[in-house]
C-alpha cells in the first residue's frame, strides 16, 4: 500500500540474512531515502524459518511487509521461496538460492521436501531468478559469501546503480572480507 520499494529476505536461521539486509539498507540510505528494516530475534533463530523486511522510499511508515506487497523477495533457500512467495506483488521478482536445507519434519520423515518448487512458482505472475549462490560463493573462496552473491543478483534486477551497491558493500563489510565479498557480488551481478 505504500509507495517505495519493499524487499523481503527469507531463509533459515544462521544463513547471513542480517549482513545482506545491512547492505541493502545502506544502498537505500545512500539514495537519501527513508529506510526501515525489521527482523525477529530469539527462538526462531535456532534453525527456524527467518524473515527480514527492508523498505525504503520517500517516507516509510510500517516497517513490515504484508502479503501481496513485496517488490522483491530474496530467498536464501529453495523451500523458503515457496513459503513466502505469496508476499510478492503481481509482477514482482523472486531471487532464489537453489540450495536445499531440509527442515526437521523432513529429516525425520514426518513431511516431504516439496517437489517441483520452480514449476509451482512459475504458475504465478512473478519473475523467478534462480542461482546456486552457495556453489558460486564457494568458487569465490567461502560459502558464507552466498548472501552477497544473492545481493549481486538482486542488484542486477534493481533500478539502482551498480556503483551504489559496491559503495554500500565497502561501508558494511569488514576490510579483510571485502575482496571476497566484492568478488561474490560481481559473480551474482553478472549472472542474469
Amino acid at each position: 500500500m505504500s509507495e517505495g520499494t519493499s524487499i523481503l529476505l527469507v531463509g533459515v536461521g544462521g544463513q547471513g540474512t542480517i549482513l545482506a539486509a545491512k547492505i541493502l539498507s545502506q544502498v537505500a540510505m545512500q539514495q537519501k531515502l527513508d529506510v526501515k528494516m525489521s527482523e525477529v530475534h530469539g527462538m526462531s533463530q535456532r534453525g527456524g524459518s527467518v524473515i527480514t523486511y527492508v523498505k525504503f522510499g520517500p517516507q516509510v511508515f510500517s516497517p513490515l511487509i504484508e502479503p501481496g506487497e513485496a517488490d522483491y523477495i530474496v530467498s536464501f533457500e529453495k523451500l523458503e521461496s515457496l513459503r513466502w512467495a505469496h508476499y510478492l506483488k503481481p509482477g514482482g521478482t523472486l531471487v532464489v538460492n537453489e540450495q536445499e536445507i531440509y527442515p526437521l519434519p523432513v529429516l525425520t520423515g514426518a513431511a516431504n521436501y516439496p517437489d517441483h518448487i520452480f514449476d509451482r512458482l512459475a504458475a504465478k505472475n512473478i519473475k523467478v531468478v534462480k542461482c546456486n549462490a552457495a556453489r558460486l560463493a564457494e568458487q569465490c573462496g567461502n560459502i558464507k559469501a552466498a548472501n552477497v552473491v544473492l545481493m549481486g543478483v538482486l542488484a542486477h534486477e534493481s533500478a539502482i546503480s551498480k556503483q551504489a551497491w559496491l559503495e554500500a558493500i565497502e561501508q558494511k563489510v569488514p576490510a579483510r572480507f571485502l575482496a571476497l565479498n566484492k568478488a561474490a557480488f560481481e559473480v551474482g551481478y553478472s549472472l542474469a
Binding site: V35, H41, G42, F61, L107
Partner: protein
C-alpha cells in the same frame, strides 16, 4: 547524519544522551540488546542481574542514591519485578528511573502476550510508548525529565516491532548532568505503614499533576486530515494506521498513562467515526468509553496477536463503504494465496548438549517439568519430552506441587532447568523442595551461558556484562547449601552415566540434583570436528533420527551433513549396529 538503529540500540543511545549512569536488567527477548548496547558507553555502569526483581531493586537503590537509571526487561520480567515496582511508585526516586518493558504481541519468543500498559495504571506511574527508533531514543530523555519533575518511576513500553525494527535516528550530544547527593529521608524511603499512608496521598496528588501534564504534553499529537474518520492510536499501530488509512485524522498518543481525557474529548468531538486502534488489550478504548464517547475498537480489531496494516485497512475500508460522503475510496485487496510448505520450526543446534538429556528422558519415559530457555525446544518432535512450561523457575516448584498431589510422580518425573534460569528463580523452588519434605529430582542443564537470548553471561560464567572477569558461583556448593545432600555433576554426552544417574536419583527418597554440565556450542565450539561417517552396518532402523539432529537425514540409510555436524557423536552412541564411526583421520569422538 542519521543512523539506522533498532529500537533497542536507540534506547541505549538515549540512555547515554540523557546522562544515565546506572543500567541493569535481565536478558529477555525483545529487550536484550538494550543493555548489550549500553555497555559500549563507558560512562554507564551496566550489569546483568540474576533476575528482574533484583535488577529493579539495584536500579531503585541507584536512583535513591541520586543517579539517573535505566532498568530493562521483557514483559513477563515485569511480573518478577512487580513487587519493588509497586512500592517504588510510593517512594518515588531521586535520580530519574525508567523501566523498559519490552512487550511481545504475537509471542515471537514468549509464553504469553500480556499488555504491560496496565502496570502503569496499577502503579499509577507514567507510560511512554514510542512509535519508531527516534522516539525510542528521545523518550528516554523525556522519561528522565518526567521522572525527576514528578518524582516517579516511568515505564517506557516497547513492543517487538519497535525493539527489533531499525529506523533512522538523529543522534544528539549527551547532556551534562550532576548526580544528586544521597540524603537520608526515612519518611519517603522507609515504607512502614505510617509513612506509606502519607506517601499514598502524595501518589494521588502526583496522579492528578501528571494528568494535567499529559493533556498538554507535545508528545501527544493530532495529525489532522479528513474528519470523517478519526483514529486514536499509540506505538507501532500508529505506523500501521497511517499507512492503512492515510486520509484519516489521527490522535497519536505517546504518553498513554495517565490518560489525556480532555484532549481525547476534543478530538472525538471533531470526527464523525472514531476508532481506537491498539494491539492486545483495550487499554485506551476502555478509558475512551468511560468518558461516554462512542468508538470502534476491540469489537472490530483482534484482541490477540499483532495487528497489521492489512487488518486495519480491511476494517476501515469495509466501514467506509457504508459512510456516505466518505473520502476513502474502497480498494481491492491484493490476491494472495500461500503455497503449502512443510513447517521449519526452530531446533536444538547440532552438537547441543540438551539433546542428549531429552533423548535420555524420553527413553526413560519420564514426566518432565520444564522451564524457560533453549531447552524448551525439547518439547518439539521428535523428542516430545516436556510436560509443562509456565514461567522462569516453575520446573522445580511445579514438580513439588505434582508430588504433593500424586506422590508416586516423584519416582518417575524430573524437573529440568538451565543454569541462568536456576539463578533467576529456581533456587527458591529448590529450597521449598528441601524445606517441605519433597523428594524430587532436578536436572540443572548447566551450559555455562544464558543461551536462548543470544549468549549472555550470568553468575555462573565467570564474566560480567562487560566481559571482564567476575566471581563464579560454585553451583554444587550452592545446591548443597540449600540443603540437597544428593548432588552430582556429569557430562550429558556420556549417555550411560546420565541414564544410570537419573534412575538412581529417582529411586532416592530425598531431594536430589544432577548438574548436567557441558558448554553451549556457541560458548565452546568443537575445536576440530571429528569426522563421523555412516558405514555399511546401517540397517535403516532410524534410531539416530530420534535425536532430532539437523545434521542427520534419512533416505533408507542415515546420512550426515558434514557442513552442519558438530561431531558430538551422540548418533554414534545411540546406534546399536555400530554404523556410525569416526573417519579415517583418527580423531576421536569427544
Amino acid at each position: 547524519m542519521k543512523r539506522l538503529m533498532s529500537g533497542n540500540e536507540a534506547i541505549a543511545r538515549g540512555a547515554y544522551e540523557a546522562g544515565i549512569t546506572v543500567a541493569t536488567g535481565y536478558p529477555g527477548t525483545p529487550s536484550t540488546e538494550i543493555l548489550e548496547n549500553i555497555v559500549k558507553y563507558p560512562a554507564i555502569k551496566a550489569q546483568w542481574s540474576p533476575n528482574e526483581k533484583v535488577a529493579l531493586e539495584v536500579g531503585l537503590g541507584a536512583a535513591i542514591a541520586g543517579a539517573r537509571v535505566i532498568v530493562t526487561m521483557k514483559h513477563v520480567g515485569v511480573n518478577v519485578a512487580a513487587d519493588p515496582l509497586m512500592t517504588a511508585a510510593y517512594t518515588g526516586v531521586r535520580g530519574g528511573l525508567v523501566l523498559v518493558s519490552a512487550d511481545d504481541p504475537g509471542m515471537h519468543s514468549s509464553q504469553n502476550e500480556q499488555d504491560n500498559r496496565y502496570y502503569g495504571k496499577l502503579a499509577k506511574i507514567p507510560v511512554l510508548e514510542p512509535s519508531d527508533s527516534q522516539e525510542a531514543k528521545d523518550f528516554v530523555a523525556l522519561a528522565m525529565e518526567i521522572s525527576e519533575q514528578f518524582d516517579t518511576p516511568v515505564i517506557l513500553r516497547t513492543t517487538t516491532r519497535i525493539a527489533h525494527s531499525q529506523t533512522l535516528v538523529e543522534e544528539a550530544e549527551p547532556i551534562v548532568t550532576v548526580k544528586k547527593p544521597y540524603e537520608k529521608d526515612a519518611r519517603k524511603y522507609v515504607m512502614v505503614p505510617a509513612h506509606a499512608r502519607l506517601r499514598h496521598v502524595v501518589v494521588e496528588q502526583r496522579r492528578k499533576d501528571l494528568t494535567a501534564y499529559t493533556e498538554t504534553s507535545p508528545v501527544n499529537k493530532i495529525f489532522w486530515q479528513d474528519k470523517k474518520i478519526g483514529i486514536i492510536t499509540s506505538g507501532i499501530t500508529f505506523q500501521y494506521a497511517r499507512e492503512a488509512v492515510p486520509q484519516a485524522s489521527i490522535l497519536k498518543l505517546a504518553l498513554t498513562n495517565p490518560f489525556p481525557a480532555k484532549l481525547i474529548k476534543d478530538f472525538a468531538a471533531q470526527v464523525d467515526t472514531l476508532y481506537v486502534i491498539e494491539e492486545l488489550e483495550p487499554f485506551l478504548e476502555e478509558q475512551v468509553k468511560a468518558l461516554g464517547l462512542t468508538c470502534k475498537g476491540k469489537d472490530v480489531f483482534s484482541r490477540t496477536g499483532e495487528l497489521s496494516v492489512h487488518q486495519i485497512f480491511q476494517v476501515v475500508n469495509a466501514d467506509s463503504t457504508q459512510v456516505a460522503g466518505s473520502s476513502i475510496t474502497p480498494q481491492a485487496e491484493p490476491q494472495t494465496t500461500a503455497f503449502d510448505a512443510p513447517p521449519r520450526p526452530p531446533v536444538l543446534c547440532p552438537g547441543c548438549p540438551h539433546r542428549a538429556v531429552f533423548y535420555t528422558l524420553k527413553q526413560l519415559k519420564l514426566t518432565v517439568s520444564g522451564d524457560i530457555g533453549c531447552y524448551t525446544l525439547g518439547a518439539q518432535p521428535p523428542l516430545n519430552t516436556i510436560d509443562t512450561t509456565v514461567c522462569m523457575g516453575f520446573s522445580i516448584s511445579g514438580l513439588l506441587g505434582m508430588e504433593k498431589a500424586e506422590p508416586d510422580l516423584a519416582r518417575k518425573a524430573v524437573a529440568v532447568i538451565g543454569d541462568s534460569t536456576f539463578f533467576h528463580s529456581g533456587m527458591t523452588g529448590l529450597l521449598d523442595v528441601v524445606y517441605n519434605h519433597g523428594t524430587t529430582t532436578t536436572l540443572i542443564l548447566d551450559n555455562r551461558i544464558t543461551a536462548m537470548t543470544g549468549q549472555q553471561d550470568n553468575p555462573g560464567t565467570g564474566k560480567d556484562l562487560a566481559g571482564t572477569a567476575a566471581p563464579q558461583v560454585d553451583l554444587t556448593a550452592l545446591v548443597k547449601a540449600i540443603g540437597v545432600k544428593r548432588v552430582r555433576t556429569l557430562d550429558p554426552f556420556n549417555f550411560k552415566e546420565l541414564k544410570e544417574a537419573i534412575t538412581e536419583e529417582l529411586a532416592a527418597l530425598e531431594p536430589s540434583v544432577i548438574i548436567v554440565r557441558r558448554p553451549c556450542v556457541f560458548v565452546d565450539p568443537a575445536p576440530s570436528k571429528p569426522s563421523l561417517q555412516v558405514n555399511s552396518n546401517c540397517s535403516g532402523c532410524k534410531s539416530c533420527m530420534q535425536l532430532g539432529c539437523p545434521a542427520l537425514s534419512f533416505d533408507g540409510k542415515a546420512n550426515i551433513d558434514h557442513a552442519l555436524c558438530n561431531g558430538c557423536g551422540l548418533c554414534s552412541q545411540v546406534c546399536k549396529f555400530k554404523a556410525i564411526n569416526c573417519g579415517d583421520d583418527g580423531k576421536q569422538v569427544k
